[in-house]
């Protein structure tokens, strides 16, 4: 019998709804919330600056910014919702969320509704000019599904057995393969790191962890060697090693990004004043290369503020994972932290020229509705884990 039985839920002390609401607000991790909101505001400023020159010819030059702010609002609403969902029912709905997510991952391949951006077939066209990137929600689905599988038959002191580990890997592998077919290399790398982190923190035997790392390295090498990766993928992955090799698209992008950030110096050119940013020399600087905007226009000081805000979010996430009172909660929190960490590192790292160029957004900062909403759902999940822990501790 599962430890989360119906009777368990029923046996909880009944708290009057008003009082329960007050407890929710009081026990929320406010540091996490404020850091996330500040990051989003900071990001909006950067998106504004980056989109200004591109949107200057439009009827409403601020339309891009307005849509971004709307995305944040929807994201926060989703986050609040997720944080309030009953911890147990989250577990119960996980297979449905997972199934839905896998299904939507196939949508970009369907003619008529699928859309391809920069070689990656990862988008779905929605009515009204909106697009949806199913892989963003797939990250959450994988985190929840893996956590539920690994935590299912666990008493608090034993480790997951090989069978569960194997199942959890299988659960992750399906969406991972579909995303791989979408040519969304960046998301594959991040998801891989999430899978590895969750399995490691689940307490699985060390050989699993070592084996997975080894497997990942070997398969990347094989993919390059056997030509399974398309040439533009290899170019993206290698241009960061030698950015001056050509002025062709990929290395050019990396080089322009570095010129922008390097030129910023200590204090930057000032918001809206960066020559690289305002002259559109850095490509997609409202999402993939948004870090170049803060680097160039607000300089080292501005970039440090942004990195510290992101760092606060991640550290609060780690603390929530540490304090979680059950393995499921800990694994969910771990998954969210790993996802945000690697996505941030990859995104900022590629702007700084130390990571390969892949098309993934900077959490809470980049433009892009689905990604923004997913981030807030992630925050919602972290808060949910925290609130659940507090409640049971009492």
């Amino acid at each position: 019998m599962s430890m989360f039985s119906v009777t368990d839920v029923m046996s909880r002390p009944k708290i009057p709804s008003r009082q329960r609401g007050a407890a929710y607000w009081r026990e929320l991790d406010w540091v996490l919330v404020i850091a996330s909101v500040l990051t989003a505001i900071f990001g909006s400023m950067l998106v504004w600056s980056a989109s200004r020159s591109d949107m200057a010819a439009e009827n409403d030059p601020q339309s891009y910014l307005k849509r971004h702010l709307l995305n944040i609002a929807i994201g926060i609403a989703l986050g609040v919702l997720v944080s309030k969902v009953n911890y147990r029912s989250l577990l119960a709905y996980t297979p449905i969320i997972y199934g839905l997510s896998v299904f939507t991952l196939i949508l970009p391949f369907l003619p008529g509704i699928g859309a391809s951006v920069a070689g990656a077939r990862a988008w779905v066209d929605l009515p009204g000019g909106f697009t949806l990137q199913p892989s963003e929600f797939a990250k959450i689905a994988v985190i929840l599904m893996m956590a539920s599988v690994l935590a299912e038959k666990q008493d608090s002191e034993s480790e997951p057995r090989d069978r569960e580990v194997l199942v959890s890997i299988g659960v992750a592998a399906l969406p991972l393969l579909i995303i791989l077919f979408q040519n969304d290399t960046g998301t594959v790398l991040i998801l891989g790191s999430v899978v590895l982190s969750i399995i490691a923190v689940s307490g699985a035997r060390t050989r699993w962890v070592v084996g997975l790392i080894g497997g990942a390295v070997v398969s990347i090498m094989l993919a390059v060697q056997l030509g399974l990766l398309k040439s533009y993928q290899v170019a993206r992955l290698t241009s960061f090693i030698n950015p001056h090799s050509d002025t062709g698209s990929t290395a050019w992008n990396a080089n322009q990004a570095r010129i922008a950030i390097g030129g910023g110096g200590m204090t930057g050119y000032g918001l809206f004043e960066g020559p690289q940013t305002q002259g559109s020399f850095v490509p997609v600087n409202e999402s993939d290369f948004i870090f170049t905007v803060v680097g160039e226009e607000l300089g080292f000081i501005g970039a440090m503020v942004l990195l510290i805000l992101l760092g606060v979010i991640l550290v609060r996430g780690i603390l929530i994972a540490l304090r979680a009172d059950d393995l499921y909660g800990r694994l969910v929190a771990t998954g969210v932290v790993a996802w945000l960490t690697f996505q941030m590192f990859e995104n900022v790292g590629m702007s700084l020229g130390i990571m390969p160029i892949t098309g993934i957004p900077l959490p809470f900062v980049s433009a892009g509705g689905t990604a923004m909403m997913a981030c807030w759902v992630g925050i919602g999940l972290l808060e949910n884990v925290r609130l659940h822990g507090r409640r049971t501790l009492r």
Partner: protein, 715 residues
């Protein structure tokens, strides 16, 4: 939850922090340590320069006659980048353009090749600039043709017809002056390298045209002005988003030359006459030079070199054939300042000055046998026979070599003879250096030769430089030459053995040869002219100058170039006086007498000295004639020379006379200053006037030197 889980979570936490740390340190490296270079990169990324060169300054002669001017010309240019985007690489466009311009298509495709590219013709046929700049194909395109091209833009992608300023040479009095004026050419790779990574707006750019010789080169920055540079801000697509900087063009400044166009044309003609005179005597007479100096300030009033070339040949680029002809003809270099020749007897004035300085009796008598024997060597009197005992003045008049051998021998013995050291005195060489020989005159023209003074010092230095080769050859014994001519090989070997052993030694024979301007001594005709100018003015060696003033295009005087003294000849005044008193005798009773027969020497006394210098390997001597006049009130020093031209008096002398006749307005025995080539009888004291609109005020009518000049006619 297991402890393993917690531990691994903590490791993940540490990983998160270290990844953040990695980003921060990289950020510090990029922004704080190397920010400056990236800032510069961003600058060049976002700006583009549009450059239109300034109009180059004019060069006018001493009374304002334009020697070099500008006119506009319709030039057709091709943008290679646009052309290469055509499906057939632009072949059809080139053919179409060739037809329109009525030139062979090959001429266009040759021009489009960047110099150094495979298959490119040598410069100036190939394009010396950036392939991204429009490449000028031909100039002086008919307006109708230009119109046809510009109206059918789709037929001629990348082809543009535009008006350019190009150099013209008004040639008053059919003057050539090619070696003085110089020519323009595309900027060289070396010049671009030398200025480094300059970002100055007036820096040289790959498409710039710069002076490559003569005044055009020496005063290039003055003449060039600064281009109009508009710096535009652009985005990635090259779309202009704003103007960062705008600088108007500053037209180039005007040079006022010391050259008088009319005198220059006389000198050029007289030099050709002298060469012809040599050739009529059956001599090769292969090259020559003539210089006229104002002895009071070092102004070069005329300077000619033979052979010469047509300066207009460079305008709009020369053809391959023209270029090859020019390169093989020696006509590009100026013999007057770049040619080095043994001065021969004209050098005896230096030896005389040394004699005076060393206290020899200038009024005593010296033996003039027809030969002097030194061991096995016999030193002959080349120009003269035996005269018995004569005065030094007479020795100069008749150019008696043996008298000067005697003087040199005296100095050589005083200097320690064969046992001399480096520190031993060498009075003739010392005085020669005081007169400016063996060093550059400092003329404001590029490429001047230094020359040599035969001396103990020179021999020592020369030995140091060449002993290795001499000693090697002395051992090897010229095996190549031996195959065909064993005797010559023996001679060479013996010579090198001797040189290897003691080639540094200042032998008696060396000293004797040096005294009569032979041996290692080599001078440019200009250097020699400065020697005679110094004698004429009492011992001051000026730096010769070709430019006497710089004026702005709106007529203001920017700089009046003052005469510069290069050195003073530190010999007793009486010695110079002796020379001044003696040299007119050369013209009346000496070796310079023949060419000046019938010249009104009573009104205009002429001081002169002839020279017929022996050159190893040449059968015929170099003909020299050096003079200044009026001898009693010295003003104009003239030196003329013709290589392999025979004697000084027969070949060069009559031409020097011709030049003096032109200067002083001499017809027969009559002297009429109004007939002088100089407007007003002498070079102008002040700078000519340039009107505020940039037109120089120059003499009108017959003094303008232009063939058809209608007063008040405007274009």
């Amino acid at each position: 939850m297991s402890q393993r889980s917690t531990l691994r979570l903590m490791i993940l936490g540490v990983l998160v922090l270290s990844l953040l740390g990695t980003l921060v340190s990289r950020l510090m490296y990029l922004q704080l340590l190397s920010g400056e270079s990236y800032r510069a990169a961003a600058q060049s990324n976002t700006s583009r320069e549009v450059v239109s060169p300034a109009v180059r300054g004019l060069i006018v002669d001493q009374v304002g006659r334009p020697l070099v001017s500008n006119r506009t010309s319709m030039v057709v240019t091709i943008n290679r980048v646009t052309l290469e985007r055509e499906a057939d690489g632009g072949k059809r466009v080139i053919d179409r353009l060739a037809k329109a311009l009525e030139i062979p298509a090959e001429q266009i495709s040759d021009r489009l090749m960047t110099c150094g590219e495979e298959g490119a013709k040598p410069p100036p046929v190939c394009w010396n600039g950036s392939p991204y700049q429009p490449i000028p194909i031909t100039s002086d395109v008919k307006p109708l043709t230009a119109l046809e091209i510009m109206e059918n833009r789709t037929e001629f992608p990348g082809v543009i017809a535009r008006l350019d300023a190009i150099r013209i040479y008004p040639t008053p009095f059919n003057v050539n002056a090619a070696h003085i004026l110089g020519y323009l050419g595309p900027v060289t790779e070396q010049q671009l390298d030398e200025q480094g990574k300059s970002k100055a707006f007036d820096r040289l750019r790959r498409t710039d045209v710069v002076g490559r010789s003569g005044l055009e080169a020496y005063y290039d920055t003055v003449l060039r002005g600064t281009p109009a540079v508009t710096t535009l801000e652009v985005d990635t697509g090259g779309r202009v988003t704003g103007t960062l900087d705008e600088r108007p063009a500053m037209p180039g400044q005007y040079l006022v030359s010391t050259i008088d166009a009319r005198l220059q044309s006389v000198v050029e003609k007289q030099l050709v006459d002298a060469v012809q005179r040599a050739q009529e005597q059956g001599y090769p007479g292969d090259s020559g030079a003539a210089v006229v100096i104002d002895v009071r300030n070092g102004h070069v009033l005329a300077m000619a070199s033979y052979p010469t070339y047509d300066p207009t040949i460079w305008v709009g680029g020369v053809t391959k054939k023209q270029f090859e002809d020019l390169m093989s003809s020696d006509s590009l270099s100026s013999n007057a300042i770049q040619g080095l020749y043994a001065p021969g007897s004209t050098f005896k004035v230096v030896s005389t000055a040394a004699a005076g300085k060393e206290g020899l009796n200038l009024y005593g008598e010296y033996k003039c046998p027809n030969r002097l024997k030194l061991g096995s060597q016999i030193f002959r009197n080349f120009e003269s026979a035996a005269y018995g005992k004569i005065t030094l003045a007479r020795a100069l008049e008749v150019s008696c070599n043996t008298v000067f051998y005697g003087i040199a021998d005296e100095f050589w013995i005083r200097g320690g003879g064969p046992d001399s050291t480096k520190a031993s005195p060498d009075p003739i060489a010392e005085v020669a250096r005081m007169f400016g020989l063996g060093s550059k005159t400092g003329i404001d023209l590029p490429g001047e030769a230094t020359g040599r003074v035969s001396s103990r010092l020179f021999k020592g230095a020369n030995w140091e430089a060449k002993k290795d080769v001499w000693c090697r050859n002395a051992v090897k014994g010229y095996p190549e030459t031996r195959k065909t001519d064993p005797k010559l090989a023996d001679y060479f070997t013996a010579l090198d053995k001797e040189n290897c052993a003691d080639g540094f030694r200042w032998r008696e024979g060396d000293a004797l040869n040096a005294a009569i301007g032979q041996g290692d001594t080599a001078v440019t005709p200009l250097q020699l002219a400065m020697v005679y100018a110094a004698i004429a003015n009492g011992g001051t060696v000026y730096e010769p100058q070709v430019v006497r003033g710089i004026m702005s295009p709106d007529g203001k005087v920017v700089e009046e170039v003052k005469p510069k003294v290069k050195s003073k000849v530190a010999v007793p005044k009486a010695t110079i006086k002796f020379l001044q008193n003696t040299l007119p005798g050369v013209t009346t009773d000496g070796s310079g007498e023949t060419p000046f027969e019938g010249f009104p020497l009573d009104q205009i006394p002429v001081a002169s000295k002839t020279g017929s210098a022996q050159v190893t390997g040449n059968k015929v001597s170099t003909s020299w004639f050096a003079a200044y006049a009026p001898a009693d009130k010295p003003r104009y020093a003239i030196v003329m020379m013709v290589t392999q031209g025979g004697t000084g008096s027969r070949t060069s002398g009559p031409s020097v006379r011709g030049i003096y006749e032109a200067i002083f307005g001499v017809t027969g025995q009559v002297v009429n200053p109004a007939d002088s080539v100089f407007v007003g009888g002498a070079p102008r004291k002040d700078l000519p006037v340039v009107r505020p609109d940039g037109t120089p005020v120059s003499p009108q009518g017959k003094d303008s030197g232009m063939q058809v000049v209608e007063a008040g006619a405007t274009g």
